[in-house]
């Protein structure tokens, strides 16, 4: 068995319950891992001691609250906190971590963009679960293209590639390829492995561009909220790994994939402003807008556009997490997808939903 990563050893120092039994068992009997574990523990203790300052146990919360409530709402000495127009405000302070970027998520997925959470950006959306949004092919044509309302720039390409094995995929992405416990009947042989990096894109709202796009469609654009023009969203998804089994003919029978779930960070405008504006744009079909609006009340839901004519969806439990099960109406293929701890895992193939669910539940 391969050695656990330094990160795993580090976690073993102070959160051993988070480390898999296999890794723990390996470390217990591996002299070089035990040495590395000792080093990790010593560094952790040293740094912990160096960072510990005058104890925080003596904090006087009552006095602090008194000071806080007595302070003027907008102290002149800290201009960054003056509730100025959103665009002028300090970036991360106003970026509200408010998930549910439903409309944005849909349009972003459809345009193939995925956010760079640069260091100073607070995430405003983080996919915690997925929910299908039924769209017809007519809807798809109608959904406004995000790039009509600003500048969409892909800042990092995922550069997917085939890699030799699961270890190589993990090395490239930091994601462990889920191991299938028992292969369903008809799926045989060894899988091939794919790895892809992060996809990052930035989207900058442009009132001018939006007005032009609306005019071209003969529509009147709803008034743009203050501060939206020129503000930027960063969208990020990935990295991802996949293991794929195929028939000798090359037709895939089973794919098990794991990706970093999409996240969005905002440079200034609060998430609600973005969501409400996007949902009010002309051209968004009523049925889709309504589904997105109901999703957006639910924190962290990633809308998954599903072609209503071809696929039916339902939910099922995968080890305590609610998963979305998609089945093609012709019964030829199915998929199961769920999000846990910011990681999206999917199992799909030319199998029945029941077979895929047992694969999903048996993943290690």
């Amino acid at each position: 068995m391969r050695h656990p990563t330094e990160g795993v050893l580090r976690r073993l120092v102070d959160e051993p319950a988070g480390v898999s039994d296999a890794d723990r068992a390996h470390v217990a009997t591996c002299p070089s891992c035990l040495r590395a574990l000792d080093d990790a523990r010593a560094d952790a203790e040293l740094v912990g001691a160096a960072l510990t300052s005058a104890g925080t146990g003596t904090v006087d919360t009552d006095a602090a609250w008194a000071r806080f409530s007595a302070a003027p709402a907008t102290p002149a000495s800290t201009p960054a906190f003056r509730p100025a127009p959103a665009a002028a405000r300090n970036r991360w302070r106003t970026a509200v971590r408010r998930p549910a970027v439903a409309a944005l998520g849909a349009t972003v997925l459809l345009t193939g963009a995925g956010v760079a959470a640069a260091n100073d950006w607070l995430p405003i959306f983080q996919a915690e679960r997925v929910d299908p949004v039924q769209v017809t092919s007519a809807d798809l044509v109608q959904i406004p293209d995000l790039s009509a309302y600003g500048d969409l720039q892909i800042t990092r390409e995922p550069e997917p590639e085939e890699v030799a094995d699961a270890a190589a995929a993990q090395e490239r992405t930091g994601l462990e390829v889920p191991e299938v416990g028992e292969l369903p009947e008809g799926v045989t042989g060894d899988p091939t492995y794919q790895a892809a990096g992060l996809v990052e894109a930035t989207f900058t709202f442009s009132a001018d561009k939006a007005a032009q796009a609306a005019a071209a469609e003969g529509e009147v654009l709803p008034p743009s909220p203050a501060g939206l023009d020129g503000s930027t969203l960063r969208i990020q998804a990935g990295p991802g790994v996949a293991a794929m089994w195929a028939q000798p003919t090359g037709v895939p029978t089973l794919v098990v994939a794991r990706v970093g779930a999409p996240t969005v960070a905002s440079s200034g405008v609060p998430f609600e402003t973005v969501r409400d504006h996007l949902l009010s744009l002309p051209g968004l079909p009523d049925g889709v807008a309504q589904q997105l609006r109901s999703l957006s009340a639910d924190a962290g839901t990633l809308p998954l556009p599903v072609p209503a004519e071809l696929v039916t969806s339902s939910t099922a439990d995968v080890d305590g997490t609610e998963a979305t099960v998609l089945t093609s109406r012709n019964g030829l293929f199915a998929g199961v997808v769920w999000v846990e701890d910011g990681v999206m895992t999917g199992v799909a193939g030319t199998l029945s939903a029941d077979e895929l669910l047992s694969v999903a539940r048996g993943l290690r």
Binding site: R10, A40, V47, T56, P270, G342
Partner: protein, 173 residues
Amino acid sequence: MSASATRGAVRPDLEAVFRQEYARVVGVAARVLGSRDQAEDVAQEVFLSFGRSAVPAGEAGGWLSVAAAHTALNLLRSGRRRSAREETVASTADVTTPDVADTVLTLEDRSRVRAALARLPAKQATALVLRHSGLSYAEVATALDLSPGSVGTTVRRAESALRKELNRHASSD
């Protein structure tokens, strides 16, 4: 969504969240700055910002911790670091910490660690500080938008860099 709407709005749960999270927020900032006074200033700023936000109550803890770490790191990197160092001396002088490791770390060491902390990539520094402030790996991952598996790696790299900084000086002394 207008500016006047946000201006007057104060979260009804602000006091409850303040009382519950204040000590931890001060703890996060104090680890970065090494100064209780500055850490309390940072905490006040962070709660001001939180009071105007729509962060769901369930996510308040993580949001506040990240905000405290970012604000404190920015302060550490800014020109005000010299005064932070002076206060370190003052605040450690009148508090006796029972930690054994404290006795082997000089104030010089602590200053060096903070200087090195200021030079770390922001994500590494933040992950390190949050983890040492008692956030779980899952909480750090959620708060920083890291995959759960990479928190350990990120923290380990930061610790290794800081330890090297200490060793470098120890061997040259």
